[in-house]
Amino acid sequence: MTAPLPETSATGTATVVADAEIPVPGTTIEGRSPWRIAWTRLKRDKLALAGGIVVLLLVLVAIFAPLIVDLFGHPPNEYHEDQIDPLFGTPKGSWGGINGDFLFGVEPVNGRDVFSRVVYGARVSLLVAFLSAVVAVLIGTVLGIIAGYFGGWVDTVVSRVMDALLAFPQLLFIIALISVVPNELWGLTGSGVRMAVLIAVIGFFGWPYVGRIVRGQTLSLREREYVEAARSLGAGRTYILFRELLPNLVAPITVYATLMIPTNVLTEAALSFLGAGVKPPTSSWGQMLSKAVNTYEGDPMFMVIPGLAIFVTVLAFNLFGDGVRDALDPKGSR
């Protein structure tokens, strides 16, 4: 570089086009992180907020189930035959026996408190749905990143496995598996075993969905120049995977996980309905529905209440998940 600079930099010209788009001083210097921006957007989305509040309430209900039942209900496995019409086996009174003492009425024949059983059912439902989503996200993220980043034969193998799992009749497989699972496993017994198996299996069949998304994102992210910039500064694989790529994957993973939970709620309910869920006397919504099938003519309320619980939970998670997706990814590129 030995020559004076070109015409463009002659006095005045450059100032006219001065590249000064930094906001006016006086405004805060703190940067607006992509998460803060997403939060601002989410707060404006009323439907998503409503969904979020319901989700939060459901989680609180699940966590504090014993306390809530103590305050507003009866122990979930306590029989209240005095609430049952001895002739038909249906709850006394209208609306399935709903009254000030039994907020959601009682179960036909044995008179157990439906409110307590729905509250405890939320525990099973949310725990299984949430933990199986965690399992799916963990496996899917690790394998998806590995496939996307390393490519080659690793990618080929992981992709084929994902294709195979997605084509697998998972519901049938789980039912068959549950029937051969022993009563004690991994130091758990009874319903604990069933829940652990449900979590493991639903999670296992869920990871390819996460894996596909993470793989695709990683494939495009690894071509970004900031990855090369990190390498040109001496970064190794670990740094690139965890410090450069992962922060950019958290958003799509969060979105997918939130939208996966309602699907898992439904899967758990379906399995419980088919008798492959938790074991009685532990209550779950699907199991209550399957019991209600026998008595719905005499006591439709016993079917409506667990059905509503599932419906509200799935709807709330979906509304919230959609809101999170829109907030994190306003362009709608998925």
Binding site: P4, P6, T11, P25, S33, P34, A229, L233
Partner: protein
């Protein structure tokens, strides 16, 4: 507010050659900072599950050049001719298929990640796309501070202070340390990339089309910044560009690339004043001329056809499919890059005659 304007160099600073250091072209025997010899990069093309190799992209095919300490080597050529690949080979983001890369006399052609790590302090890169070169999830402080973290260096006064100094150096407000890339314009983002590249006080900086993604009105500012920083920090540059206009005023020597080959390499004066390779002439005819009288004199050479595929480059001279001077020998024999005059290297069977010295002005 003044601190919110980027420092714009108003009025070009008069460039002086430091005492004791002569113009680079005058002392070719000075030990080069970078020496590239017979550099080759072929990207294999694979097919099927077994990934059988069915061909290769000849992205860089046997190129040799030196970069002397303190100079700026411009590298030009149409898109796809292998400029970025060359830059990524020199910064060892890519593994060369053949040839050697020597930095300060040390062969770095096949150093691994660990072996390259200490060298990375001395060789840095500025990237083409200011939108893709900054991680959107990191703050400017994290981005510009990454070199210190990755190299395990604690600068005097701490990382934060040094990052703020660097931001000031490239004409950004040091207080914007906590901001995210999306809060800056393209030109400002490119300045962040420059700050990151300069953080470790490198000796050699490869700038891959540093302004081609920017608005024309911003380009000159960023080029001027690079120019100022070179004087201030004693940097050596390899600046890549896809046409001859951007690098005209900042390059000491210029290498013209076509389909993975260097076709002409000489100092700026003779390249602009007396280009010898037909391809260089064609490129030069596309550069806008400010002086209308000279514009009228010069005919615009429009090249026929497209750039051939680097998967199966033409035989003989790779330019023969588009060259108006091509003869039989061009189709069969590959012209070797040879010095026809002191410093002027050209690879052509029928180079342009040396023009009268009066014409040879930059």
């Amino acid at each position: 507010m003044p601190e919110d304007n980027e420092a714009v160099p108003v009025g070009a600073p008069e460039k002086t050659i430091p005492l004791g250091e002569e113009a680079p072209s005058a002392t070719p025997e000075v030990r080069p900072l970078l020496r590239v010899e017979g550099l080759v990069k072929h990207f294999p093309i694979t097919k099927g599950l077994l990934r059988r190799q069915v061909g290769a992209v000849h992205a860089v095919d046997d190129i040799s050049f030196d970069v002397r300490p303190g100079e700026t080597l411009g590298v030009v050529g149409e898109s796809g001719c292998g400029k970025s690949t060359m830059g990524r080979l020199v910064t060892r983001l890519l593994e060369p298929t053949g040839g050697t890369i020597e930095f300060e006399g040390r062969d770095i052609s096949h150093l691994g990640v660990g072996g390259m790590r200490p060298m990375r302090r001395d060789i840095q890169m500025i990237f083409q796309d200011p939108y893709s070169s900054l991680n959107p999830r990191h703050t400017v402080g994290t981005i510009v501070g990454a070199p210190f973290r990755l190299q395990g260096i604690t600068p005097d006064g701490g990382v934060k202070k040094e990052v703020q100094r660097l931001l000031g150096l490239v004409g950004l407000n040091p207080e914007h340390y906590n901001r995210y890339p999306h809060e800056f314009s393209g030109g400002q983002r490119q300045r962040i990339g420059i700050a990151r590249a300069l953080a470790l006080k490198p000796k050699l900086v490869i700038a891959d089309e540093p302004v081609s993604a920017l608005d024309v009105s911003i380009q000159a500012q960023v080029v001027n910044l690079l120019d100022d920083l070179q004087d201030e920090l004693g940097l050596t540059y390899v600046i890549i560009a896809h046409d001859l206009s951007v690098i005209r005023h900042v390059s000491d020597r210029i290498a013209v690339m076509y389909l993975g080959k260097i076709v002409e390499l000489t100092d700026r004066r003779s390249l602009y004043g007396a280009p010898m390779h037909p391809y260089t002439k064609a490129l030069l005819s596309a550069v806008p001329v400010p002086d209308p009288r000279r514009r009228a004199q010069r005919e615009r050479i429009l090249l026929k056809g497209d750039v051939p595929s680097p998967i199966s480059p033409p035989s003989g001279c790779r330019f023969h499919t588009r060259c108006w001077k091509a003869t039989e020998v061009c189709r069969t024999d590959e012209p070797v890059l040879t010095a026809l005059r002191t410093g002027h290297q050209v690879a052509c069977h029928h180079p342009e005659p040396v023009e009268s010295p009066g014409e040879a002005a930059a």
